[in-house]
Amino acid sequence: MKAPFTRSLWLPLSLLTFPYALPAADWLQFRGPGGSSVSQESGLPTALSESVLAWKSPLPGRGISSPLIIGERLYVTASSGPDQDRLHVLCLSAADGTKIWERQFWATGRTMTHPKIGVATSTPCSDGKRIFAAFSSNDVVCLDLEGGLVWMRGLTRDYPNASNSLGMASSPLVTGDTVVFPVESDSESFAIGLNAKDGSNRWKIARPKRSNWASPVEFGGGVALLSAAGLSVVDPATGKEKWAFGGGSSTPSVTFAEGILYVPAKGTTALRPPSSGAEPEVIWQNNQALCSTVSPVVHKGRLYTVNNAGILKCSAAKDGEKVWQLRTTGPYSATPVAAGDLLYMVNEKGLVQAIDTTAPEGAVVSTLDLQDTFIGTPSIGPKALYLRSDKFLYRLGGSLGK
């Protein structure tokens, strides 16, 4: 299903309206810079085909976490063993997928999960100097970039009812010297701020007693903690709530762009954060912009959401009005990622689809069927897209060794 790229007339105008001066950056957390799913990289493959598959590297265990990209290296987690209680952190060469180092740890918490996910579901995060890897067993490991252990915590050892029999999936976030990690379940439920230097508690706050898989997102000096019970924005240094909003979701996460917080609640709700402790302003709500499992993506003034039927809906970020919608091939668990004018979507069966967002009605311009199971969200690096299946890590774009 290939079609030529088309560009609508509004694009130059939108580029003037929204400055995009951010430099290309490492991919340091779930959904990349700011948890946006958007990369400023250029030179990514625009026409997907088998020829763009630079390499495919086997992984030592299961997982759906996304790889981090720091310079020329990739960092990814996995789990293995009859009880999935071996926790792996790997460093691979971005150029050719070869393993640079691997460290293993023994899980100290429960490893039961729904078969669709696994113990290595949370995407690690990094401050560029250290890797903070979290697992469904609520084990959190901090390593330096050469694989040296900095610290480890076993949060279910410390808080024995902190677990979810379906599996934990929230990804940690590092901001300053604090690692923010939600550990939310029907039983013992909390969010914790760990000292990035030694893993000790900076703060620990109670969270709603209900299963939750959404990940925190940092914006404007606060960290958004989302659950089906609502949104709570906390100070990452203290865990103290700054403001809250009574709508939310348990799986997709919020997205922050151009001063607006897009919350997967009542479809999608656009909020303007309050300047000081007041209520947020609801700019718009669109109950047709359903997020289901995947998080919303805001790119070049447009909001992209994907529902359970695989319908990609494009709405205007400023007012939520529908621009176009496009039937794509689902089902999806992975959130789309964006670079340039393309949105990359990978469904659970391994079909990677490149969407031209500038086409008047959006268009699937090329596809690549990797024939593998993909639940995790892709990561974007220089000239390449990295996708992780349950068994392999793939690089699309660039050629071997370049």
């Binding site: 023994w106 040296g148 900095v150 029907d186």
Partner: protein, 389 residues
């Protein structure tokens, strides 16, 4: 060929061979709850990761007294030392690592790590050793050894040597502790015409007294102390949610010991029930209660509260929860509270649990008076245990 030394003796021996336990290991072993002593351990493990390869046995022995977090710190140092040494084409102290592996008194996870180091440097020898681990306390060593037994049995079956295959599968079953391996072996044995008593193999408790339903509206009953938590009086009658309730004897023949509370207690929502049994232990000492339950639950052992969890319908499996207890020789009482919520979806109907008593490896500890396993009921009725008032 295998030695068995008490942990403290092995650790003392390590100290005498390699010198006194040094400050870095000491600092790692001090790691406590909530990140206590992490900062000191971080500096210590960085030093240990730079140790020469001769120190590997010392690091492995240090895992014996270590808690799970400290053992992971030590493991990271072992991995770093091995990687660095092999990258520089240096030599590892193979004989000492082998000796550590073969001493079944050492930390099971550390022994598996020792085995994997041998796989990297002397793979042929490591492969030969594997066959000897079929009854090993290390769950992973045993798992791989049982896999070899299954493969050997399959070859005999393929060669149509059915008597030999039957014997080989039976040997594999006796050694197996992993559920998937056990299921596979049981399937093969049954195909060869042999009955397999899975509840007995696992050690599931099949005979219980149950009482209920009591109220759990709005999940409040989880924390309500109903009379069965205060006393066990077999003939007692209490006010329940739907009238008078009294203890009933029930038994289950379900393959994995699941006891369905819906038939004896009434298929209601927003309720709680209790199950009680006496486990006559053949031994005294540490053991594990292993519970699978998708309802809210609390458990008491010999009258002492052990653990409770208020999670509903997020899934259940064998050995979902491992609860350490200390067995008394003879009678030990077990009381379980199982709470049902008020959700109405079909998949929230289940109100059941499975419980077994075993050692840390998952080997069943069978009661001295264990009754015969009741016959498994037909699939369609398998959720309905027999009940008599």
């Amino acid at each position: 060929m295998k030695l068995r030394l008490p942990l403290f003796a092995a650790f003392f021996l390590a100290g005498s061979i390699f010198g006194a336990q040094d400050a870095e290991i000491d600092l790692v072993l001090k790691i406590g709850p909530e990140g206590a002593h992490n900062a000191e351990a971080t500096q210590a493990v960085a030093m240990l990761a730079k140790a020469p390869a001769e120190q590997l046995p010392r690091l492995l022995f240090a895992m014996n007294p270590a808690n799970e977090i400290a053992a992971n710190y030590l493991r990271s140092a072992v991995d770093a030392v091995v990687d660095r040494t092999l990258a520089a084409k240096g030599k590892l102290p193979v004989s000492e690592i082998r000796a550590f592996l073969l001493n079944t008194g050492n930390n099971p996870r550390a022994r598996r790590l020792a085995y994997e180091i041998l796989v990297r440097v002397v793979p042929a020898e490591a492969a030969q050793l594997m066959a000897g681990f079929a009854n090993d306390p290390s769950v992973e060593l045993r798992y791989d050894a049982v896999d070899l037994l299954i493969q050997a049995a399959a070859k005999q079956k393929e060669a149509k040597e059915n008597d030999a295959a039957l014997k080989a599968y039976q040997t594999a079953l006796n050694a197996a502790r992993d559920q998937k391996q056990i299921e596979k072996i049981a399937g093969e044995l049954r195909a060869l015409g042999t009955a397999v008593d899975l509840p007995r193999h696992f050690g599931f408790l099949t005979h219980w007294r149950v009482i209920g339903p009591f109220d759990n509206t709005a999940l409040a009953g989880f924390d309500v102390v109903y009379p069965p938590e205060k006393e066990f009086v077999p003939a007692a009658e209490y006010d329940g949610k739907a009238g008078k309730v009294r203890w009933m004897e029930v038994a289950t023949g379900e393959e994995y010991g699941k006891l369905d509370l819906n038939p004896p207690l009434g298929e209601l929502k927003g309720v709680t029930g209790y199950a009680s049994t006496v486990f006559n232990s053949p031994i005294e000492g540490p053991a594990e209660l292993r519970l699978g339950c998708k309802n809210g639950w609390k458990i008491w052992f010999n009258g002492d509260f052990v653990f409770g969890r208020d999670e509903y319908h997020r899934g259940a499996r064998i050995d979902q929860y491992r609860l350490p207890v200390t067995l008394k020789m003879g009678a030990n009482t077990i009381l379980l509270k199982v709470c049902q919520n008020e959700d109405v979806q079909d998949w929230t109907r289940e109100w059941e649990f499975q419980l077994r008593v075993c050692d840390a490896t998952g080997t069943a500890i069978l009661a001295t008076d264990r009754p015969p396993t009741p016959p498994a009921e037909p699939k369609a009725k398998s959720k309905a245990p027999s009940a008599k008032k």
